[in-house]
Each structure stands twice: as structure tokens, then as C-alpha cells.
Amino acid sequence: MTICKGVLNSNVLFYKKLKMEVDMRDQILEILTEQRPDVDFNSETSLVTNGILESFDIVSIVAELDDTFDIEISPKELVAENFDSLDAIEAMVERLSEEE
């Protein structure tokens, strides 16, 4: 009975975390799409490297991420590797949320 409860709890935690991650991804996608509706963020993987996102876009996105997730994005984070794709942005937000 205790084992079953433990498994159930860990499953609940796992699904909670998964839901949070899905929510976070959706929210980031919403922010990105609002800033640049002309870009397909689900498929682009070189957003900064290929000049799709410009510094003006990045700063606007940072302001929104900062506000939505209550994180502090320092200038050090404003590099291509952190903004080249939706995955990269999500990974950065996750990392900074954990650091806060």
C-alpha cells in the first residue's frame, strides 16, 4: 500500500512538472509569436545566427520573459546560443528559474 502511494505521488509530481514545462513552452511561444508573428518558432533553429531575430526583438522578448516568469536575464545570457531556437530559450528560462 505504501509502495503504491509512493509510486502514485512520484507520478503526480512527474505529470505536474511535465504540465509546468508544457505551460512554460506555450507561454514562451506566445511571447515569441506576439513579437514576431511572421516567424515559425517551432521549426526555426538559427533564429539569431541567421539574423531572423534582431537585437531589438531580443530585448523585447527578454522584457516579456522577465515579466512572465519573474526571472532576471543578464546581458551575459544575451548570446546566440540562448536565443537560436524555442528549445534554447526554454532551456535558458528553466535554468534561470531554478537559479532564482
Partner: protein, 527 residues
Amino acid sequence: MMAFWSILANFDLTYPSWKFFALFLPVLAVLWQLSPAKWRRMLLLAADMVFFWSFSGILVVFLLYSSLLSFGIGLWLKKVGQRTDLKRKIKGKLKKKILIAGILLLLMPLIGLKYMDFIGLNLVRLSHLFHVGFDWKILNLAVPVGISYFTLEGISYLTDVYRESIEAEDDFLSIFLFFSFFPKLLEGPITRYGELSETLNVAKPISGENLAKGYQRILWGLFKKLVIADHLAPAVDILFQGNVLDGSLSLAAGVFFVFQQYMDFSGSIDIVIGAAGIFGVKLNENFRQPFFAKNVSDFWRRWHITLGTWLKDYVFYPVSVSKGLMKLTKRVKQLFGQNVSRLLAPSAALFCVWLCNGLWHGPRWTYIAYGLYHFSWIFLENLFGDSFSRFYKFIKLSESSLALRIFRGIKLFLIVMVGEMIFRADSLSFGLTLIWQIFTNFHWKVLIDGLGLLGMDVWDYWTAAAGLIIVLIVSILKERGYSIREKLMACPVPVRFAFWYAAIFIVIVFGAYGSGYDAAGMIYAKF
């Protein structure tokens, strides 16, 4: 010994002078090849010192000061970063304080030597407005060459160490070489330690390929500088003398100066990149066909690229994500909505960038106005950029159509030209008068008569025009990803030799020399 230093102080080593590329560089290259590998960096440092001394003599102490300061502060930042007894946040705050102190100390010589008279004189003007007695005695201090460049390089080094994107260097020779590397001392490109140290400290023997490629690039630079820019220089000097001109001649002044400036600066950068390349050192490109840009923002991603990226990384981003601005953005979002707040942080940071850009060029109101002029265009582009794209779609004009590209090209050229006229004029009022004349007092006949009085004969006009057409063709090919040099490398040896000999011949025959030629007149060396 003193005689040697005084001779050196009068030895013209500007990039387009023969003493630089036909004496200084070959002698250094021979010594480099003869030296044991471990001595090459010392040899390079000696060459750097000779080069610096030939322009600024004892002011080399300022170069040493910036190098020592950056070296010391860099190590201090590293030491604090390694401390385990401090909490992350406290450590971060301490590092930030050290960084700010380091940047202020780096800026002190630049501000003290270059901007004090400007600040003092403007304080006098301000004191007159408020009827306060304030006087300023002009100091006219000597400014070491390249101080605006190596100060920015010092700031980038310290900031990169602070951000932990590079490790602090513990070998002072490496740092001193980075600051004093002679090819980029006068006109940049502005380098970052993380990029330059990779090739600068290797000090490999000179390869035949590097030597050939380096001199080919130098030749291309000399062509731009001597065949085009220096032919236009006398006319530009006359047109910007300060006399109010007919609109047609004002337009000629603007057009000539844009070409002169572009060919002078990009030609010098070609010489710089070529000279560094001989010794296996890779410098970043500073130009990428700027006049093929689609708008002003794009232009600045292609013109003086290293200054633009420096300002982006060390001014634009830090200002735009600063705590104060982020808080203000949130407040504005609550009050006016997201559409307004989204523009606030980047626009405020953009303003700082262009103020810095203007001020970096020197202590003059014309430079500040030039910076703010470009800020206005880029701000408007960010505000209305989408509207233009929608309008082109509405009238069914493809973004890649030739008509739109030509329209954009002319529009961009005119925008840049107006900015350059403000930049070149001795005073803001004179610059604005010249621009005003184009719209209010324009007569073609005056232009036709006046062109003969600008210190250029028919031959000079044809030479400059032919040179510009060659540059245009090369630029079109480069923009399409076609490299003439690579194609030439694949040609048989006699063809290659014939081509390069012809190129040398063209530069010697068609270059602007003689009494009107001023090798020291490299526009961007004075910044």
C-alpha cells in the same frame, strides 16, 4: 639614441605610405622568419612599439597604462570569481563593483585627453546661460593614436572576464600584444581578446599563402585608398571649406564625401587585415557591402561592423536589460499596454548606443548630431518597418524585385549622405545649411561650371569613377557569394601573375600622389 627616437617620431608609417607596406612590413617579415619561435612575440611587440612611437612617441605610456590596468583588473575579477567563501550574490556584486571601477579607470585617459576641452567649453556656454562666472583655459592636450580603439578593447576584455565568457589572461605579454598589435592600432577593427588571442599568440612562421593573400588584400586596399579616395579628397576639402554653396555643389559635396569616406576607411581596413594576415593573425571584417543594405539598421550591420557589435554587446544589451529599465517597462505595460512597453527598453538603449557612437567619433556636436540622426532613422524603422512591408505587399511589389531594390538603394544612399554631411561639416549650422541648399537653391549649370574648380581635373574624375565602377562590380559579385580571389587562385600561374602585376601597375599609375597627396589623411585614424 635620442636622435633615433626623434627620427622615428617623424617616420611616416601610415598604412598607405610606401614606408609601411614596402619597408616596415617586409623588414618585420624577414626578421620574423629568422627569429626562433619563442622570440617572435617579443619581436612583434618591438614592432608595435616602433609603430606606435612613430605617431605618438612617449604617449605610449597610455597604451601601457590601459594594458596594465586591464591585466590587473582581469586577474582580480578572476580571483574574486574563484572565492568559495562568498555567496553567489555577494560575489556577483563585488565583481560588478570591480568591473565598474576598471571601466572608469580605463575611460579616464580618453576623457581627460580628448574630451576635457569640449566639456569645459560647453560648461562655459552653459554658465553664460545662467549668468554664472565660469572660465575654461583650452588645454589642447596631445592624444595618443588609437586611444578610442584600445579603450573600447580594454572595456570589452574586462566585461568578458566579468561575464566569464573568457578567462582572465595571466601572461602580461599576451595582453600587451593584444592592445598594441600595430595593424589595428590606427583605425581598428575593434577586436576582442577571446578572438584575437587565438591567432595572435601562436606566432607561426609566415606561409607563402598568407604572404600572398596578405599583400593581395593590401593591394586592394591601396587601390581603394589611392585611386579613389585620395583623388576625391581635394574636392571634398574645397567643398567643405565653409562657404555656402549652390545646392548642386552641396549635393556633390555629399556624394563625393560618402565615396571618399567609404573608400578611405574600407581601403585602410583592407590594408590592416592584409598586414595582420601575413603574420597569421585573423582580424574581423569591418565592412560587408554596406550600400546593398535594405534599410538603415541593416546598413549599420554592414558598415563599421566591429564598432556596431561592440556597442550592441557592451551598451545596448546591458542598458536594455538593466533593472531600472525593466521595472519601467513593467510600469509602462500596466499603464499603456504591451505595444508601447515593448518598444521602451530597446528604444532607450538604442538612444544610448547612438549617443555613444557619436561621442566616440570625437568631442564635437556634429558627431553627436550624426549619432542622433541615425538613431532617429533606426527608431522609425523599428516603429514602422512592418507597415512598409505590408504596403509593398498591398501594391504587389516583391521584396526582391529590382525596382524595389533600386528604390531602397537610392533612399539609403541619400539618408547616409545627409548623415555624412553633418559628420564632415566643421559646424552643425554649416552642415545643415549645405543640406538646406540642396532643396532650396539647386542649379545644374553651377555644378557643370563648378566641377572644374574643385582641384580635380577631367582625368581625376574619370579615374575615381572607373575605380568606383570596379569596386561596385566586385561588391555585386561578393554579395552573390562569388570570390574573385578564389577564382584567380584556381587560374594558371602566368594568368595570376599577369593579373597582380597589372593591379600593381594600376595602383602606381593611377594612384593620387604628388603635392596634393597626404598619406597621413586617413579619416578614421583621428578617432
